[in-house]
Amino acid sequence: MSNTLPPNSGYVAAAYLVFVAILLVYVVIMAIRAARVERELTELLAQSQERGAQTAQNETSNA
């Protein structure tokens, strides 16, 4: 088997790498957005739990 690469193989690799790079940049952007949604959901959950605990406390003190 020959060890030499076909001529112009660098250009072919570059073209396919561009495709992969664009895909990866997109994945990174969407990952950042997904992480932001997760963080905001966690904050909302904490806020909701805090509010639930406060309501329960108020009901106990009223009783």
Binding site: P7, Y11, R33, Q47
Partner: protein, 250 residues
């Protein structure tokens, strides 16, 4: 009441799996099944990524126009979102087609760009036309007007795409090859299989990314609605100016 049937991410895993399988097969076929072209040699392998990207780009722009028409008829925000997403992803795919095209041109013709070639210049004009879509949306504050004007743009530009394509086909080519000539496609059998697989894979990738983006935007809209609900805020959405459409929670 919202149901899972209405969600943008419905069938997304299926599309993602199909994209991965078909694109992997396409790359395998391009490198190990399709013969090396006699004239251009190994650099012709760029064809299997460049041409599908260009075709899917133009298809995406046309779909953007079709959803623009649907929005103008129905006034439903989901059609605006679909039009926006198709054009947004079309521009990204267009960048990919332009860069891979430049690399292929350098490998085959020894130049990164040929200004005399109608195919190249017309594609660049289409790209430049669609790069004005986001600034147009961003420049309009009122969401309804923004969606309406963007839909009109999508329809007019969407009509320009096939007209431009036909005009270029009628013009005499200088050096850019015609893959599908007027008398039928000029690809040998093995190359044709690899090419169509790559085309289907790229189209599936486009659909998957569009669905993923719409699902992501809908999730963020749902999150904002949830925050307003928990925080006891008014139902008015955040009035900050942005190019992306306001997504109605479904």
């Amino acid at each position: 009441m919202s149901t899972t049937k209405n969600l943008y991410g419905r069938r997304l895993p299926g599309y993602a799996i199909a994209t991965a399988v078909v694109l992997t097969a396409a790359i395998g076929l391009a490198f190990f099944f399709a013969p090396i072209e006699a004239d251009q040699g190994f650099s012709q392998k760029i064809f299997y990524i460049h041409v599908p990207l260009a075709i899917v780009t133009l298809g995406g722009f046309i779909f953007g126009g079709i959803f623009g028409i649907k929005y103008l008829r129905s006034g439903e925000s989901r059609d605006d979102l679909r039009s926006y997403t198709a054009i947004h992803q079309g521009v990204i795919f267009c960048i990919g087609a332009l860069i891979t095209g430049c690399i292929w041109a350098k490998a085959s013709w020894g130049q990164w760009w040929v200004w005399d070639e109608p195919t190249l210049v017309s594609f660049l004009i289409i790209f430049l036309l669609y790069t004005t879509y986001q600034p147009l949306r961003f420049s309009i504050e009122d969401p309804e007007r923004q969606a309406r004007y963007a839909a009109v743009f999508a329809v007019v530009a969407g009509v320009f795409v096939p007209v431009n394509f036909i005009a270029v086909r009628l013009a005499a080519p200088l050096i850019h090859p015609r893959v599908f000539s007027n008398s039928g496609d000029s690809l040998p059998g093995d190359m044709r299989i690899a090419f169509y697989t790559a085309l289907i894979g790229t189209a599936l990738l486009f659909i998957t990314i569009c669905k993923y983006e719409m699902s992501s935007k809908h999730s963020r809209a749902q999150l904002a609605a949830l925050r307003r609900s928990i925080g006891g805020e008014s139902d008015e959405p955040n009035a900050a100016r942005r190019a992306a459409p306001r997504v109605a929670v479904r």
